[in-house]
Symmetry: C2
Subunit: 555 residues, 2 copies
């Protein structure tokens, strides 16, 4: 056994934890209305691993012997479960393909190195044998960054970094921690908080994603407004390449030509295997609070977030949902907790009397961290801005609930899929002045796509991160699929969203990477010369295309 704990092979999270609706009385009618799916109907039967058409491993005895020699027999795995777990990430496309038994190119072997020396031995064996190496962290990727090309004829080796899970050292005098790349979010924060530190990086995937994965895909977390995106947090890095290790020392800033650090960030395994990252860490703040707010409209919420971003306030979280996402949040409320108290306690009547159109209410969460005086002052600045845009403070209850439940959302996808609905997410970032047209045009594009495929669907959005000159918009969509070719239906919807992003001054992805899912839009995002530059870089490091081929750039 490797002792590396994986997610369910067929869905999000660990076995035994899943979404359920029994304690959420408002969800059934909401989903019926929004997506046309009856949650009380009998769900599809669970999948069985035995039913999957797993192809036999295609790997010669020499390479297998080399790999076994590198990491040990017990850490060289070719059983069905290990191989299937490492075939895909967790996008809706991945989940649909697994359910359809569509697994043309399963890794031939999975290796679990214990340290950088073993990673080097694996890398060198793979390159010498002209095989393919795909680094694997938590397996949460939703851009197709983990899959081998369907037509790959060379042996495919998945290298699982899960045993490299230690915080190696903390430089307390600098706020820097050297950490192995395979550590999962909770494992890492536990080791840091034991010594009074936090990295402050909390993506939605936190419980099932790794530090190396965050770096390889340019992750962002829900407190990135304060702590920065992973690109800001990452200072030093070690990357195993063929026969050598790239070593970038931790530096606060440097002018050493084109940034090699910023080449590794987002490299999705194409420039080698990230084994260690030196990151900025922070003392756990004296105070931390997340407050809920209501805005009378999406436009008002957006304008307030913009004003906050250029104010003297420095909140840790700035988030506002559109009316649809707010309606969804309300529909998941339990009989008496957090949002429930708001929705039921007469507040809605008060707002109605104030002239609010209740169908347009937008729920917002804003977080604060620091000393008590800092938090108090920031809350006061934000309160003034919120009020000037017609919003109101609704207090700590909903904020605390959001904070507790923030990592639960991905579970709902499998639940819906069992009941005939496909759901996924797409996010972008754009300048502030472009966000409203981008939003409107993207919502329209999704609804046109639903019409095109002739189904009922839902789309909702929130602003998830603010920057000085723009913000991230995060869209969630769900539709009742036809049960025949849900993948083709998904393709229509997903393409409509992505095309709308790049057509409306947005990027193809704010923090979910390119993978194979988004590479079609790369040229429209960074122009053909930009694609050529990335291509040239990849080719110079990996002339044999042994490192995760086909990702970022299709060929």
């Amino acid at each position: 056994m490797t002792n590396v704990k994986h997610m369910k092979w067929w869905g999000w999270g660990v076995d035994g934890v899943s979404f359920h609706h029994e304690d959420k009385p408002h969800l059934v009618p909401f989903v019926k209305r929004a997506v046309g799916v009856d949650l009380n109907a009998t769900p599809d039967p669970p999948l069985s691993l035995d039913d999957l058409p797993v192809p036999d491993p295609m790997i010669g005895p020499d390479l297998l012997a080399e790999l076994t020699n590198a990491v040990g027999a017990e850490h060289t795995r070719s059983d069905r479960l290990d191989r299937i777990v490492h075939t895909y990430g967790k996008s809706i496309r991945d989940l649909l393909r697994l359910r359809a038994g569509d697994i043309p190119r399963v890794p031939d072997v999975v290796v679990y190195p214990a340290d950088e020396a073993e990673v080097q031995a694996v890398v060198d064996a793979v390159v010498a044998a002209d095989a393919v190496l795909i680094p694997f962290g938590g397996g949460s990727n939703i851009a197709g960054s983990l899959e081998a090309p369907a037509d790959e004829s060379r042996p495919v080796v998945s290298i699982d970094l899960g045993r490299l899970n230690k915080v190696l050292a903390i430089d307390e005098g600098s706020g820097l921690a050297r950490i192995q790349a395979g550590v999962l979010g909770p494992e890492m924060e536990e080791q840091l908080t034991a010594k009074g530190w936090t990295m402050g990086h909390f993506p939605d995937s936190f419980t099932h994603s790794t530090l190396g994965g965050w770096v390889a895909t340019r992750s962002s977390g829900m407190q990135s407004d304060k702590y920065g995106d992973i690109a800001d947090i990452t200072r030093g890095v070690r990357v195993v390449q063929a026969g050598k290790v790239l070593v970038l020392r931790p530096l606060p800033s440097t002018s050493t030509g084109p940034s090699v650090r910023e080449m590794i960030l987002g490299s999705e395994g194409r420039l080698g295997v990230i084994t260690e990252v030196t990151v900025q860490v922070h003392r756990i703040p004296e105070e931390r609070v997340v407050l809920g707010y209501f805005f009378p409209s999406w436009e008002a919420g957006l304008a307030a977030m913009h004003e906050i971003s250029v104010s003297d306030a420095t909140p840790s979280i700035t988030r506002v949902s559109d009316a649809n996402e707010t309606e969804f949040s309300f529909s998941t409320r339990k009989k008496s907790a957090g949002i429930s108290s708001l929705v039921s306690k007469g507040l809605m009547k008060v707002l109605e009397r104030k002239g609010w159109d209740l169908s347009k209410i937008c729920l917002s969460f804003i977080g604060y961290e620091g000393g008590k005086a800092h938090v108090a002052r920031n809350r006061a600045i934000v309160k003034g801005i919120v009020k000037s845009h017609g919003g109101i403070v609704v207090g700590k209850g909903p904020g605390a609930l959001y904070d507790q439940k923030k990592f639960d959302t991905p579970y709902i996808r499998d639940y819906l899929l069992d009941r005939g609905a496909a759901a996924d997410v797409s996010e972008t970032a754009a300048p502030w002045s472009q966000l409203q047209p981008l939003y409107t045009n993207t919502i329209d594009a999704v609804n046109r796509a639903y019409e095109e495929i002739g189904t009922k669907g839902w789309v909702m959005c929130h602003l998830s991160h603010s920057y000085h000159s723009g913000a991230c918009l995060y869209f969630t969509f769900a539709f009742r699929h036809d049960g025949k070719d849900p993948l083709a239906q998904y393709e229509v919807v997903k393409s409509a969203i992505q095309q709308s992003f790049v057509d409306n001054a947005g990027t193809l992805s704010h923090h979910h990477a390119v993978g194979v899912e988004h590479s079609r839009w790369l040229e429209q995002d960074i122009s053909a010369p930009g694609v050529h530059m990335i291509s040239g870089l990849l080719g110079s490091v990996d002339p044999g295309a042994n490192f995760n081929p086909g990702k970022i750039i299709a060929k």
Copy 2:
């Protein structure tokens, strides 16, 4: 005439402005003691352009005709002055070589395109003719980024971007400005402030450096603590390459693989010609103040800067000088202004009675920007931290003086050179925990170098920028040269500093780029695989090595 105003061909700044000591009564004895040079002695006679052995242009009529066709005859210059101005930057090595008539490879022609289309025509003509193209902004570079290799046998074309000097558009809704790359700092800020905006980027070279130059060298400014380094400010960019234009749209953040934006940053002309940059701009703050502080020692000053960097305060400037630099600052005081009042008004006696060793006093400047309440609160936080490290607030007078005089320092180099002393600067960045040993070891290394070359010299340092996990240390050194081979003497001192930087966890340069001056240390900084990655990138974009060859990576 091109209407592009250049610096003196032989030194810093424009004709008619220079440093003088007549109004600084304490400077003459200080320099005599520190460097062993008598400022009252007769200076070397001024240089004459006519005495320079400028080689004839080596360029064929076809390329010349193409270039003339591209930008017009009046903007295609081959006169001695234009060619000499574009031969070097302004490092002490450059100044010494000009004074020695050491100019083996002067550009054969200087072109001044008016817009991106003309840049494209120049680039395409140069590449088609297999010539060499060197982009030129303000000419302030001190890393050798502007010079042609001495043995370059192909025609060398200097492309001066000075006519691309307009702020093209301001997206007021996003805080983004589209600006032509050839604009000088003051020209740019004037256009921005006319509309109520500032970019907030003020390097020491501000008056004579350009936006494109800042991007190409990864510049940092004295208010970067608030506004970010140029890498943070730069959002979009347009770069002319052979037959095409790289276009990166302005995005607040993105996960599109290895960052092409971060490849252009620091590219020193090797990836094409930057024609346009979209930058973050900010509303001019309600209040802006720079305060002076004294610390009883360098260690105390460093510790205070570190504590400020992890506090809730967000100052715009954090700067502290060591005792030597403080002594230098005191020596440049006029009879009655700013620092003078402090040094003379009995404060020193008070400090002495408090137990301070006056020879160890360290002068610090900390700047604040924002609303009045924000500035007041930040000043209060900083005051508490300063006091807890034994420091005192010395008020607005010295801060205001620093603020007025901040761009004057480079002038002193020519003045000293006229009198037999060579002076230059080297800066680095390192984690907080490494700054004290890096400082001590670097000072020791410089003093050993002075011993080695058998001369009297001075070295001083300030912390110029703070980050969460480290800071920039900025060293200035000056020594009496032997009048025979000052370049060889400089080489000993400069090498000692650079080697100390990389040996003590520092980078080879924080914001002065690599050029040819620092490329020897690149491998020690970013490791051999890092150098290989940059090399692969450059080679894929510029296989013929037509774009500023020899910079960043020697060969």
